[in-house]
């Protein structure tokens, strides 16, 4: 492919670029350039604050906005109560922040803002970001577990009723499955978001290249790809919600392990 041909690079959308000459900002020797990724984190934060602040009217009879904010808090509250029990309520602020931050990041990244020349950046498609969130969740699980149960927390790795000779085998398996949790947590979100965006980009390249190749290709490749793309867009919106939910749900399940052991 020559450079003059219009070419869609499905990976280009994940490129991080420093904004406004901040490339050399440093803090304690580390680069902290304000990148497009950081910009979209800021946008997600602002939109989320505006959304939740709109639900703070504290009216006895809620309006639509207040209703929707209360739906989300109630949703997280119910999830924690179902998975962790009464002790789960104190994690509502964290799980709510996590869920809403990921949800807003995913959905903002899907916004068709490219039409008006703004290119959304989905920072949840970077495993640096999802990994940090997973590590925060995992750290909370560890801190709560050892805080509440001390060294007894290690009994989490021996399912109750395990015969004594099996313990040396079961313990490492359980320990490894426990230690893999932050990776699976972070990778799941990163992979789901990246795969969806790559798929959309590849399909769009089919549409563009097919249409450029002539009417026959446009009818054979371009139009079916476009229809498929519309369907996948709807699916991606669903995935954006589901992945945020899965992240929050798994975090609350892990917290349940730490709170209640088995």
């Amino acid at each position: 492919m020559a450079a003059e041909v219009a070419k869609v690079d499905p990976m280009h959308q994940f490129t991080i670029a420093p904004l406004g000459g901040s490339a050399n900002w440093e803090l304690a020797g580390f680069n902290i350039a304000f990148t497009n990724s950081a910009l979209w984190m800021a946008i997600a934060t602002v939109v989320l604050i505006i959304f939740v602040a709109g639900g703070l009217k504290r009216e006895l009879v809620p309006g639509r906005w207040q209703m929707s904010v209360e739906f989300f808090t109630g949703f997280i509250d119910d999830m924690l109560e179902a998975n962790v029990g009464k002790a789960g309520r104190k994690y509502v602020p964290y799980i709510f922040s996590l869920f809403m931050f990921i949800l807003f990041a995913n959905i903002l990244g899907l916004m068709p803002l490219g039409v008006v020349g703004v290119h959304p950046f989905t920072f949840t498609s970077h495993f640096t970001v999802t990994g940090v969130l997973a590590i925060i969740s995992f750290a909370i699980v560890l801190v709560v577990g050892f805080w509440k149960h001390g060294l007894h927390f290690f009994s989490l790795f021996i399912p109750s009723g395990t015969p004594l000779p099996m313990i040396p085998i079961i313990f490492p398996i359980e320990l490894i499955s426990f230690l893999v949790r932050p990776f699976s947590l972070g990778l799941r979100l990163f992979v789901a978001m990246m795969a969806g965006h790559v798929l959309l980009e590849v399909l769009s390249s089919f549409v563009i290249d097919g249409t450029n190749a002539g009417a026959g290709f446009a009818a054979l490749v371009g139009i079916p790809s476009f229809i498929l793309m519309v369907g996948i867009c709807a699916l991606e919106i669903l995935v954006a919600g589901i992945q945020a939910y899965v992240f929050a749900l798994l975090t609350s399940l892990y917290i349940n392990d730490a709170e209640n052991l088995h």
């Binding site: 680069n31 808090t73 922040s97 809403m100 640096t128």
Partner: protein, 164 residues
């Protein structure tokens, strides 16, 4: 794949800005606003529960009052029926008295009348006897030329009247 290709140069800024913005979200939204929102929801639930409880209590009270009213009403009705029954009994008694008094008066009148009639008949009979005796005396004198005394004639008339 920029996620790996750019990892070395961008990881620190990614981590830093993520911690900054997620920290802002956690502090302002998670800790600041969410408890207030949940508080509002809890307040509303409480309000609804207390309103429902008040409504239930009010209904129970209304039922109670209706029951009391019904009891009172039944008592009143029983009392009214008792009064009616008493009035009826009184009226019947006074009627009977009046009737019996009237009956007595009538009986007395009847007895008086019968007595009068009997007296009248006796006197009439006596008169008839006298008249018959005189007639007999007269007839005897005219037919037989015998003059009988009044007493004889009288006893003869009496005899004849008894024998019919």
């Amino acid at each position: 794949m920029p996620q790996i290709a750019q990892l070395a140069e961008t990881y620190s800024s990614q981590v830093f800005w993520l911690l900054v913005f997620f920290g802002i979200v956690f502090v302002f939204v998670g800790r600041g606003m969410v408890p207030k929102v949940m508080d509002t929801v809890a307040q509303r639930d409480q309000q609804i529960a207390s309103d429902l409880a008040a409504a239930t209590a009010a209904r129970a009270k209304a039922d109670e009052e209706e029951e009391a009213w019904r009891v009172r009403e039944n008592e009143n009705r029983a009392a009214a029926q008792a009064i009616v029954a008493e009035a009826k009994a009184d009226a019947a008694a006074s009627n009977e008295k009046t009737l019996s008094a009237a009956q007595e008066r009538l009986d007395a009148k009847l007895a008086q009348a019968e007595q009068d009639i009997a007296a009248a008949r006796t006197s009439a009979l006596a008169e008839v006897e006298t008249v018959a005796a005189e007639a007999a005396q007269d007839i005897v004198q005219r037919l037989a030329g015998v003059s009988v005394t009044a007493a004889t004639a009288k006893s003869a008339v009496k005899k004849a009247m008894i024998h019919g």
